[in-house]
C-alpha cells in the first residue's frame, strides 16, 4: 500500500488567504480528497484543496519538506 504525501490548503471565509493547514498520506488523489476533508474538519471551510507534495516546486529553498518531496517518485 504505497501512499503519497498530500499537502492540504484551505481558506475559512471568502477573502481569506489560502493557508497550509496540514497533510495526509493517501493512495491516490480521490482518497486524498476524502482524507483531507475528514481529517481537517475543525472549520466549515469555504474552500479546501490538496496538492501532491511531489508536485510542489520549491523556488528559493533547497531544504525543507517540499524540497524533499521532489525525490519521492519519478
Amino acid at each position: 500500500m504505497r501512499e503519497h504525501v498530500y499537502d492540504v490548503f484551505a481558506r475559512k471565509n471568502r477573502g481569506d488567504p489560502l493557508a497550509h493547514v496540514g497533510y495526509v498520506d493517501a493512495l491516490d488523489d480521490e482518497t486524498a480528497r476524502v482524507y483531507a476533508w475528514k481529517t481537517y474538519d475543525e472549520e466549515n471551510w469555504f474552500e479546501m484543496c490538496v496538492v501532491r507534495r511531489s508536485a510542489i516546486i520549491p523556488v528559493n529553498r533547497d531544504d525543507g519538506p517540499f524540497a524533499g518531496g521532489r525525490s519521492e517518485e519519478p
Binding site: G22, D25, D63
Partner: protein
C-alpha cells in the same frame, strides 16, 4: 548541511529562532523532537480504542455521535503527529503497525479500561485536559514550526473534548444518587492517574533536552500545577472529592496523598494507605504496561496485514 552546532542551535531557539526543516537540526534536536512526537502520536492513537470501547456505554444516539466525533478527532491528531515524524525520517508504517504493544510510548492511563459512561466523561474531563495542558505549552513555546502550525487544529478540538467531559460531569453530579456515585468512583482513580501522567518531579528530573531545545516551555511540576489549577476548582464546584487542595502559604496546589503510590489495577484503586513508593517502582509499573495495552494495540493493528494481502492478490491477478 547542519549549519549550527548543538550549543549554537540551543542558543538560537532560546532567542526565538524557529526551525523549519530537518536539515537545520542537530542530531540531538532531532532525537528529542522524535521522542516528543512519538509520545504525542502514541497517546492520541491509543486514546482512540480506549474511547471507542467506552463509547458503547453512550446513553443516546446524540452522545454516540459526540463520543465517536471525539474518537475521529483523536485518530486525525495521531495521523498528523505520525506524518510529522515521517518528515523527520521515521516510518509511520513501522510506528503504527510494526511495534509490539509494550513498545508504544503513551501514558499508563491509556492502558486502563474505561468501563462505563462516567469513566468516559471523566477521561474527557481529566485526560483530555492533561492533553491540552501539555500541547498548549508546546504550541506556545515550540521552536519547531511545522508542529506549531499542526497544533492549531489539535488544541481547538481537544478543547471540545474537555467541554464534553465537563458538561457531562456536571450533569451526572447534579443528578445525584447512582450517577454521582459512579462519577466519584471514576474521579477517585482517574485524578491520581492524571497527576502521575506528568512524570517525575522537577527535583528528580534528569537534564531534559526538551526545554533546552525549546520543544516545550514548562517543567513537569509546572504543568502538573496548571492541570490542577483548573481540575481541582472544577471538582470543588461539583462537590466531588479530589485528593488535592490549594495551599495559600506555598501558593500552589498540594496533593493530599502519598505521591507516587501503588495502584491496584484490578480494583481500580490507589493504595494511599501503603504510603509513598519510589519513582523506580512507578517506571517499572509503566514499563509493564496496563491491563488493556495488548487489546488496544491489537484493535488498531489487526486488519493491516490481512487487507494488505488481499490487495497484493488483487495486484497479482
Amino acid at each position: 548541511m547542519t549549519q549550527f552546532t548543538d550549543e549554537e542551535l540551543k542558543e538560537k531557539v532560546q532567542g526565538g529562532y524557529i526551525v523549519e526543516s530537518v536539515d537545520e537540526m542537530t542530531d540531538g534536536y532531532r532525537k528529542a523532537l522524535v521522542v516528543q512526537l512519538t509520545v504525542q502520536a502514541d497517546t492520541e492513537l491509543m486514546s482512540a480504542p480506549a474511547y471507542w470501547m467506552a463509547a458503547r456505554h453512550a446513553p443516546s444516539t446524540n452522545t454516540q455521535v459526540s463520543a465517536h466525533a471525539i474518537i475521529q478527532d483523536e485518530l486525525a491528531h495521531a495521523n498528523i503527529a505520525y506524518r510529522l515524524l515521517e518528515d523527520l525520517g521515521e516510518s509511520k508504517e513501522h510506528l503504527v503497525y510494526g511495534r509490539q504493544p509494550h513498545e508504544f510510548k503513551h501514558p499508563y492511563g491509556f492502558d486502563q479500561p474505561l468501563e462505563n459512561w462516567a469513566e468516559l466523561v471523566v477521561a474527557n474531563g481529566f485526560f483530555d485536559r492533561a492533553g491540552i495542558t501539555l500541547l498548549s505549552d508546546v504550541y506556545q513555546n515550540t521552536s519547531y514550526g511545522p508542529l506549531k502550525r499542526a497544533l492549531v487544529k489539535v488544541d481547538m478540538e481537544e478543547t471540545f473534548h474537555l467541554r464534553h467531559g465537563e458538561v457531562w460531569m456536571r450533569r451526572l453530579a447534579k443528578a445525584g444518587g447512582e450517577a454521582r456515585e459512579m462519577l466519584q468512583r471514576a474521579v477517585d482513580w482517574m485524578f491520581p492517574m492524571t497527576v502521575e501522567w506528568f512524570g517525575l518531579p522537577d527535583s528528580m528530573k534528569r537534564h531534559s533536552g526538551q526545554l533546552a531545545y525549546r520543544l516545550k516551555g514548562l517543567t513537569n511540576d509546572q504543568l502538573r500545577q496548571v492541570w490542577m489549577s483548573s481540575t481541582v476548582p472544577l471538582c470543588e464546584q461539583l462537590e466531588l472529592n479530589a485528593p488535592a487542595h490549594w495551599d495559600p502559604v506555598k501558593e500552589e496546589y498540594v496533593l493530599d496523598y502519598p505521591f507516587p503510590c501503588r495502584y491496584d489495577e484490578a480494583a481500580k484503586r490507589w493504595l494511599f494507605e501503603e504510603g509513598e513508593i519510589s519513582w523506580d517502582d512507578v517506571f517499572e509499573r509503566w514499563k509493564a504496561r496496563g491491563p488493556m495495552n495488548e487489546t488496544y494495540v491489537e484493535s488498531v493493528q489487526r486488519s493491516r496485514r490481512e487487507v494488505a494481502r488481499w490487495l497484493q492478490e488483487e495486484a497479482a491477478a
